[in-house]
Structure formats: structure tokens, C-alpha cells
């Protein structure tokens, strides 16, 4: 079943002038999100995940410049839209759950006022109807006493409750596409599971597309259809969740999977795997593989010019590395 893409991104680049030159935090990024499906974006802190999503929403910091070969929501080109037209789409057909709830919730207004406003900015609903929907959504994301919670200010909520307010806010208008930047990091695992069920239900019901940015590889494996691994501004590997977890091809992806303690496999108190070295500066241009300085397999070929994508273990799996597919056994599934 070739579902229609709700979002198409081709050759997305972001450039930010900084005192030392030009920062290139997002380079030639491309992917598609199909209706009712989830794409995960994973990668080291600072690799450009948040700026990629801000670029999609046209919410980049003022001096940042965006260029793209194509950027379309449900077939509609977003590149040519005016800021007013884009503002109509944001929070309405395409909404974002931000990484840092405190920076996007206004401390001076109650939770209720902010949720009601999120809907009434785009819809001609009454305050009462919007308030009812807010209560319904807060209950869906696991906040009881929602009626009372509406009167609280953001600082009176725990970290996890604030994050759930953000999630409810993104859902106020039943968007076609949700971009969620670390939506469940401040939440415990039972609430996380319930919110992930909620997102999955909404997806099934409204065929919403979801881009999930997260450091939690458990969430990625369990919830996402496709995974894009970013490193220093570029997508270095992309494939289905099964391909990425069972037959990871890029040395960075393989290093990443070794960093997580797996109950029953990692000895308690033993040292965990790490990826030695630091991320390269993204100022100026870098000819070869961005991972070369940290890669145990790097050779001269890795540094001489741009690295093209190679085909991975199956259809739709690709990775940016000079090495052929690792021939060793595929990673076994972790013990359940």
C-alpha cells in the first residue's frame, strides 16, 4: 500500500551566520512522512534535529536562512507561502510539540487560557467548546482534575504535567502532521506508554503523520515505522525500524546502539559503551564524512570528498558511508 506522503522534504539546508563564519546545522536533509505513519529522527545532541523541525515550521531563529529543493504538506508547496499563510497552517494543520515546555508556555497565563487560545486562533469555536475540548484532551493525556488544572499556571505543574499540557495544545486542532520534539522525556514510562498509545490512536483515526524526535531508542523501536539517524547536520542512515535495529550499517548508528544499557544483557554497574571524541564544528564546509574523526573504521577515502548514500539491507534502507554492509551477524533482538 503506497500511502500518500503528507510531508515531502528534499535538500533542506539551514545556514546561520555566526562570528566564526557560517554554521551549517542542517545539510541536504530529505525524507517523506506518509499519512498515518511515524518517522523518528535520532542523533547526538546538537546534530540539528530541532533546527530541522523548526525549518519545516518556518520558525527558525531570525538570522537563520532556509533553502530547500522541495517542502510540501499534503502536496501543497510550503516554500512560497507568506508568513501569514504559514501562520494559518501552524498549530492548525501542522503542529509542533516543543522540546522545552517552559520556553513555549507563557508563564503569565493559566494553562486553560493558553489551550483555549490555541484553538480559537484558528477556529471559530466558542470559549466553552474550546474549554471542553481542552479538558477532554488533558484527561486523554492523563491529567485528572483537568477542570482545576486549567486554572493553574505553568510553574505550578511538575515537569511531566507541563509536557502533557504541551501535547494537549498541539492536538487542539486535529492537525495532519505533528512534529514532536522529545515529547515524553520528562514522563515516567507508564504515562509515556499511554501517551504513545494516544498518539497511535489519533494517527489511526485521523491518519495523522508524526515526526518524532527522541533520544529514547526504546520509543523509536516500539512506535516508529521509519528511522532517520542524523549526525552533524546530515542524515547518515535511514530505514525501517527493523532495519536500523537489526542491521545497522553506519558506524555511528552501531556505536549509538551500544550505548544503551539493556536489562539482562548489560552487567549491572559495568561501564556502558560510549562513542569517544566530540562532534565536529559545523562552521564552514567539511568535505568528507562528518563522523570520520570518531570512526574506528575511518580511512583516507572517508576524508577526500562527499560520501554518497549506499543501499542498505533492503528496500528503503540507505546509509552514508564508504564501507560495504557489515558482514557480521545481524544484531539479535534484545531479550524481552
Amino acid at each position: 500500500m503506497a500511502a500518500a506522503p503528507i510531508l515531502e522534504v528534499e535538500s533542506l539546508n539551514v545556514a546561520i551566520p555566526v562570528p566564526a563564519g557560517t554554521l551549517h546545522p542542517v545539510q541536504e536533509v530529505g525524507f517523506r512522512v506518509t499519512r498515518g505513519h511515524t518517522l523518528a529522527i535520532v542523533g547526538e545532541s546538537g546534530c540539528g534535529k530541532s533546527l530541522t523541525s523548526l525549518a519545516l515550521m518556518n520558525l527558525l531563529p531570525p538570522r537563520a536562512a532556509r533553502t530547500a529543493g522541495r517542502l510540501a504538506l499534503d502536496g501543497q508547496d510550503l516554500l512560497g507561502l507568506s508568513e501569514r499563510e504559514m501562520a494559518d497552517i501552524r498549530g492548525n494543520r501542522m503542529s509542533m510539540i516543543f522540546q522545552e515546555p517552559m520556553t513555549s508556555l507563557n508563564p503569565a497565563y493559566t494553562v486553560g487560557d493558553q489551550l483555549v487560545e490555541a484553538e480559537r486562533r484558528h477556529r471559530r469555536t466558542s470559549v466553552t467548546a474550546a474549554r471542553d475540548r481542552a479538558v477532554w484532551l488533558l484527561e486523554k493525556v492523563g491529567m485528572t482534575g483537568a477542570g482545576e488544572r486549567l486554572r493553574q499556571y505553568p510553574h505550578q505543574l511538575s515537569g511531566g504535567l507541563r509536557q502533557r499540557v504541551m501535547i494537549a495544545m498541539a492536538l487542539m486542532c486535529d492537525p495532519d502532521l505533528i512534529i514532536a520534539d522529545e515529547p515524553t522525556t520528562a514522563l515516567d514510562v507508564t504515562i509515556q506508554a499511554q501517551i504513545l498509545h494516544l498518539l497511535a490512536d489519533l494517527q489511526r483515526e485521523f491518519e495523522t503523520g508524526l515526526i518524532l524526535i527522541t533520544h529514547d531508542l526504546g520509543v523509536v523501536a516500539r512506535l516508529c515505522d521509519r528511522v532517520a539517524v542524523m549526525y552533524a547536520g546530515q542524515i547518515v542512515e535511514e530505514g525501517t525500524a527493523r532495519q536500523i535495529f537489526r542491521t545497522p550499517a553506519h558506524p555511528y548508528t552501531r556505536g549509538l546502539l551500544d550505548c544503551i544499557p539493556i536489562p539482562g544483557k548489560t552487567r549491572r554497574g559495568a561501564h556502558l559503551g560510549t562513542i569517544p571524541g566530540i562532534v565536529p564544528s559545523l562552521v564552514g564546509s567539511m568535505p568528507g564524512c562528518h563522523f570520520a574523526d570518531r570512526c574506528p573504521h575511518a580511512s583516507g577515502a572517508c576524508r577526500s570528498g562527499p560520501i554518497a548514500f549506499r543501499d542498505g539491507a533492503g528496500p528503503g534502507h540507505r546509509y552514508r558511508c564508504v564501507l560495504s554492509l557489515p558482514s557480521g551477524p545481524a544484531r539479535p533482538d534484545p531479550a524481552p
Partner: protein, 328 residues
Amino acid sequence: MSGAALIEAREVSCTFTVSGGFMKEKRRLQAVSRVSLRIEPGEVMALVGESGCGKTTLAKMMMGLIAPSEGTIEIGGRPLASLPRMEIARSVQPIFQDPYSSLNPRRSVGSIVTQPLRVQKDPDPETWRRRAEEMMEFVGLPQRLFNHYPGQLSGGQRQRVAIARALVNRPRMVICDEPTSALDVSVQSQILNLMQDLRSELGLTYLLISHNLAAVEHMASRVAVMYLGRIVEEAKTGRLFDSPCHPYSEALLGSVLTPDPTLGIPDTQLGTSYPNPLDVPPGCSFHPRCAKAMPGCSVRAPRRVPAPGGGAVACHLHDEGAALDTVS
């Protein structure tokens, strides 16, 4: 148990008031209710539980940042309320969740790391810089960063600065509230490794608050599970993860997402009657969501009893006496 605990909470509670709306009465929000927790020197005690269940509030009371509305906290056998601020700070130091907002952006790394020495009026100012640099080296921060500002550091480096600041005065205990949740997995594994090394080299005691149960299982020696302001189970890490006794602990551990793409999101079996700290259910506060609830559970609060296999649990399923009571 013999000897004084490093820190001990005895039956502490904390209540906030929440506005009920225009012209309505203020309502009481019971964030922590009658919690007792004893931490021995050298332990890694983990505190886990639903978001909003009162973990941060309990941690703040244990550092003297919030006064308990009832109960007492003791450090080394002495009531915390009677100790001067400086002395508390010398025993217990926090590392908070967010390395972005917990460091003052206008202060250099050196100034941040030496701050506890300044605040505590350390009598030996000539040694401040050297001690700060030693500690920076200890946590893996190059000394060239001494004059850098937080904005120039990566997330992992910032969290190391927070750790260096917490440790510069050699506290006996560190309270870590979600120390790695803002970090990506490769940096997270570095910080967890570092915390392990510091523990053995400096003989530290940790209270570790985390939603990352894989990290908890990896790091902790004992675990306390909180639900709606109460500790519902407490045990050695191996016992808790191998055979949780409390139905909430079971649900919690069952929701851990191992990175296995052949499995989906597990069903928590908890239903959607989420707990409301403004309106705590009678009896066992978990009963509306408990798959194993019995008639007596909605009436009588369970007491804390020894758990099979070690530790303690507050659940009627494990309290013979109470089960008989409900039948009679």
C-alpha cells in the same frame, strides 16, 4: 539497622494550596504524604514513580529547600531544621534535570564551579581555583574551559559542570533529579559511567531520581517506588526488578520499552482513571487503577509490611492480617 543513616525522612508530608477559581475555596494538594525513607552511607538509592507523584518535592525537602508540613528530616542523626544552611549544603548537593537552565549563563565555568565555596565562605580562598580545576579534571572537563560560558558548552559538558559544582566541596551525598534525561544516549552513558567512578573514588552516596528504568537498574543498589505522594514499595534493585510485589511497580516495570522493533507499546493495564493529588482516593490510593484490587482496598489504607523476598511493600495483597480483617 544500626548506626545513623546518612539521611532519613520520617513520616514527612508536603501540602500545597491551589486556587479553586474565582470566589471558590482554595484547595489542598497533597504532594507528599507521610513518607519515610532511610539512606545509608555509600548507597545508590533510586526514587522512581509516576510523573507528578512527588519525587522532586521529596528531594527538595531532603535538601532543606522546602519545609515539610509534617514530619522530620535528619542528616547524620541531627534534625535538618536545626542545621544552618551552610552545613546542609556541605552534606547534600543537588544535580538537577536541566543542564541548560540550572547554570547561570552570565557566569563562567570557573565561577560556577567555585560558587559553593564562595557561598559557604570557605576559609581558604587561595585554594579555590586549584580545587575547582581538580574537580573539573575529575569529571572530565578540560581546564581550558575554566573561562568559558555555559552557552559555549555542549549538553554533556554542561551536565559535567553541574556535577563539578555539586562535588567541589566534597559533599557526602548527591541528589540527582533526572541527571541524564536532557542528554542523548552517548553522552548519557558517559555521565552514568562518570557517576559510578565518582561513587567508588569519593565514597559518595546518591539519591537518584529517574524515569529511565534501564539506568536505574544499572546504577542503583536500592529502589523506592512512589505513587501519589506515598512510597508503595522499597527493595534491593535485583529483587524489585526480578519480582516486583506492588501492582503499581509491576505496571511500571512492564512499561519499560526495550529497543526491540518486533514489540509494540505495552498495555499498562492501568486504565485511564489517572490519579489526582487534589482528590486522593480513599483506602489504597492506587485502588481505582489496580487490576488486583479487592473489596477492602477502597476502604482501608494498606500498611507497610515486609515484602516476600526482602524490602517492604504497602499493599493488602501482601498483608495477611489485613486480608483477614476485610473478610471478617
